[in-house]
């Protein structure tokens, strides 16, 4: 029971952070006339990110343990496998470049099993095994559980693919290497409004996914700020098979664009039936589209659609080319999902921080991660210093082209392009 005593402070802090955060987004409609830029929200949470009070783990002997929690089983397995391979490549690269003299870095693997309960217990196990820091998970809901456990114990977490805005509000020990949904929503709103000239966009949201609901709201907020109009929003649920009812409704609203914030297994069929329902509009989405399978499930209809992604295999940056070369050597082929590159970056960030550590314990590792500046990651240059765990980095707008082209990078949008 002694653990309980430490919880209330954390819980209260998280609650306050949560209330402030939802307060901002909830009353966003009313506030937006007064505040011209959407960049305000992260700053208010700057003061509320609680510092973990626990001491964390200390390295014993010459082995520095880093934990990774990713789904090795369950329906998120493809992401977990890619992320793990990416992290292992990052560790090999680090050792090849000399590593840390006199020390050996060991990657300890935990399986989140694609669910929140297992993610939490895997993280707790790794922490009791003495890891200095944890990377993972690939999804937001799992990362939040990991972050809660890690906060209690004072261990830093670098998330791989949790894009939900609330993830890093758990505590000052939580970081990520991916962009956040509010940035992604803003990027797509900007692209839709400016580059595609859309003014009347309809939303189709997967009600079962917090990710989709959040992304739709962010898109709505920024698109309306730019002067565009959201002409309608309809909902569906993961695993639903017919969407004609929703699409007929949206067709009657006459949008010139359709923003599909869900994941690719539904987006593909939706786009196909949208075309059949007479919606000849531009299709847009977030990183949930990121799977080659969407080319097949979306058929001819998805061609010409745009979505936001972290990284693209055809990027010419040297980091990307190096990563692809190493991936080919170790795993073979090209990485199937963007989680491979993000897994690499999460590991690379924590290893880079480890090198700069004053002493080998969780506390100085957290401090060192916080000091990360202009780190040349595979998914872009990232800065964590003073960012509340949400890196300043770019997002790519990718166009869907027919095979063999696949996903073609169209535009890289940096935070400064949006005035942030």
């Amino acid at each position: 029971m002694h653990v309980r005593r430490t919880i209330p402070a954390a819980v209260w802090a998280a609650l306050i952070a949560g209330v402030l955060a939802t307060g901002c987004s909830g009353s966003g409609d009313a506030q937006k006339q007064e505040q011209p830029s959407g960049g305000e929200a992260p700053k208010t949470s700057a003061n509320v990110r609680p510092q973990p009070t626990a001491e964390g783990n200390k390295a014993e002997g010459d082995t520095l343990k880093i934990g990774i929690v990713v789904p090795i089983n369950g329906d998120q397995k493809p992401w977990g496998d890619d992320a793990l391979n990416g992290a292992q490549i990052a560790l090999e690269d680090f050792n090849k470049q000399g590593g840390i003299p006199g020390k050996k870095v060991e990657l300890v693997i935990g399986d989140s099993g694609s669910n929140t309960e297992q993610a939490k217990s895997a993280a707790e196990k790794l922490i009791s095994d003495g890891v200095l820091g944890i990377i993972g998970d690939v999804t937001s809901s799992n990362t939040i559980q990991i972050a809660k456990s890690a906060f209690e114990k004072g261990v830093p977490v670098v998330s791989i693919g949790a894009t939900n805005d609330d993830v890093t509000k758990q505590g000052a020990n939580v970081f990520r290497v991916c962009y956040v949904d509010s940035f992604q929503g803003e990027v797509m709103a900007e692209f839709a409004h400016k580059d595609l000239g859309l003014r009347n966009v309809a939303l189709l949201t997967d009600r079962k996914q917090a990710y989709s609901v959040g992304l739709s709201n962010n898109f709505r907020k920024h698109f309306e700020q730019l002067g565009g109009k959201i002409v309608g929003e309809e909902f569906y649920e993961t695993k639903q098979t017919t969407f004609t009812g929703q699409l007929t409704n949206l067709k009657a609203k006459n949008p010139d664009g359709l923003f599909l914030s869900g994941y690719f297994p539904e987006v593909g069929p939706i786009v196909k039936s949208a075309k059949a329902a007479g919606l000849n509009v531009k299709f847009l989405g977030g990183d949930g589209w990121d799977s080659k399978e969407i080319l097949n499930s979306g058929g001819e209809a998805i061609v010409g659609g745009f979505f936001c992604n972290h990284y693209n295999n055809k990027d010419t940056r040297p980091q990307v080319q190096h990563f692809l070369k190493r991936w080919k050597e170790k795993v073979g082929g090209e990485p199937g999902t963007t989680m491979a590159a993000l897994g690499y970056d999460a590991m690379a960030v924590i290893l880079d921080a480890l090198k700069r550590c004053k002493s080998y314990d969780s506390k100085s590792l957290t401090a060192a991660i916080e000091e990360t500046e202009n780190f040349p990651g595979v998914t872009g240059d990232l800065t964590l210093k003073g960012q509340n765990g949400n890196p300043r980095k770019r997002a790519l707008v990718v166009e869907v082209r027919p095979l063999p082209e696949g996903f073609v990078m169209r535009k890289a949008i940096e935070p400064k392009d949006l005035g942030q």
């Binding site: 009600r207 695993k239 098979t241 004609t244 097949n296 499930s297």
Partner: protein, 394 residues
């Protein structure tokens, strides 16, 4: 615009889309009906709720997928290298699905349900749930699911959309649209000319941006005109594939009706469903009839699965049958479980009810409405719409 605009949007009813939505509902309902027939037939004969029926449906979808792959419609093939599809391809896929499902259905009956037939009914029910879970998770071990595959749309040779205008728009409006379209096409041409001299389509020079904005402007005017035209007319749009589902479902249901009403096997089936033991005493081979029931019910599920996988193109996973299975089961109960026309009526009713809820702007409750309808109907007619209301102990 106004805070809360999203909410008020939901309450607005658009009667122009009502005919379309009813058609959508009937088309969705046809699939529910097809699956519901399997539940209802097995229940009618064995008094057993075959919870594994949804999983048989799932296996049918996978079979159709594999056959399409064997024809060369693999996902990694570039579109210009795909083979041509025809009605024959579809028929082969459907027959393969039906055959595999029928076999699986018979095997399930032979090895899972028959040994339990003389036990308490609850044992069979639990066995059914067990088989269902076995197929879901067992399928997860062997069937491709990462990422969830979908049928290539090129398998379906009927991809066009059929349009039927019920109420036409005034001539004047169409002329406005035509004028706007010409203007837009002119602006588009000018912009595309300009684009040839631009380096990057997404980082234009000022002149390029001006022409692009002019194009967008013209496009918006065209959209506005089209919008006015659309709201002035009432049009029903149906994908040819979805129509094919309806036609094939009706055909299969008609064949089933003929079989049950006018053949000796059908008569035996009806006899077994009325009284299992007496039918056996009268010389009906009960085991054979039960097998035939499973063959027919499972084959119908297979046909339904092949059609949804092909014409709707949804992602196939080992859990593909769970939601349709539950909905079809509800449809069967709604119509009166054990009653064949009841299953069809229940399926269609559910399809239409769901779509009407979406039409009314409450798409977030579409899945719940099925169960609300069920509860309401069962309150007043415990046996279902067409079922007998005799009290039974399960």
């Amino acid at each position: 615009m106004v805070p809360g605009a999203g909410l008020s949007l939901a309450a607005a009813l658009d009667f122009g889309t009502l005919p379309s939505q009813i058609v959508n509902g009937v088309l969705n309902g046809a699939i529910y009906a097809l699956i519901a027939l399997g539940y209802t037939m097995v229940y009618g004969v064995l008094r057993l709720i075959n919870f594994a029926h949804g999983e048989v449906y799932m296996l049918g979808a996978y079979t159709a997928l594999f056959v399409s792959w064997a024809y060369g419609f693999r996902p990694d093939v570039p579109p210009d290298q795909l083979p041509e599809s025809s009605l024959a391809t579809l028929l082969v896929m459907m027959l393969a699905s039906m055959a595999v499902c029928a076999t699986v259905g018979v095997l399930i009956e032979r090895f899972a349900y028959r040994p339990m037939r003389n036990q308490a009914r609850i044992s069979s029910l639990i066995t059914a749930i067990g088989v269902s879970l076995l197929l879901q998770y067992g399928g997860g071990l062997f069937l491709p699911q990462n990422p969830p595959p979908t049928m290539n749309e090129r398998v379906n040779p009927y991809r066009q959309t059929l349009e039927l205008t019920l109420v036409g728009a005034p001539q004047q409006l169409s002329e406005v649209v035509e004028a706007a379209r010409r203007e837009f096409q002119a602006a588009e041409r000018t912009f595309e000319e300009r684009l040839k001299s631009e380096k990057d389509q997404f980082n234009l020079s000022p002149e390029g941006q001006r022409l692009r904005d002019a194009k967008f402007e013209a496009e918006r005017r065209l959209r506005d005109a089209e919008s006015k035209l659309n709201s002035a007319q009432v049009t029903v749009r149906v994908g040819a594939g979805r129509l094919a589902i309806l036609v094939a479902s009706l055909l299969l249901m008609f064949l089933l009706r003929q079989l049950v009403l006018f053949t000796p096997t059908g008569r035996a089936m009806r006899a077994v469903s009325q009284d299992f033991d007496s039918a056996a005493l009268m010389g009906v081979n009960v085991d054979r009839i039960v097998t035939i029931t499973f063959v027919i019910g499972s084959a119908l599920a297979g046909a339904g699965a092949m059609m949804t996988a092909t014409f709707l193109g949804t992602s196939i996973t080992p859990y593909y049958g769970v939601l349709p299975g539950v909905k079809a089961f509800v449809a069967a109960v709604l119509g009166g479980i054990g009653n064949i026309p009841g299953a069809v009526l229940g399926g269609l009713l559910m399809g239409v009810a769901e779509t009407l809820v979406i039409w009314a702007g409450y798409s977030q409750f579409a899945d719940a409405v099925a169960f609300v309808v069920l509860i309401v109907v069962l309150l007043f007619r415990p046996g279902g719409l067409l079922g007998s209301s005799a009290v039974e102990k399960v």
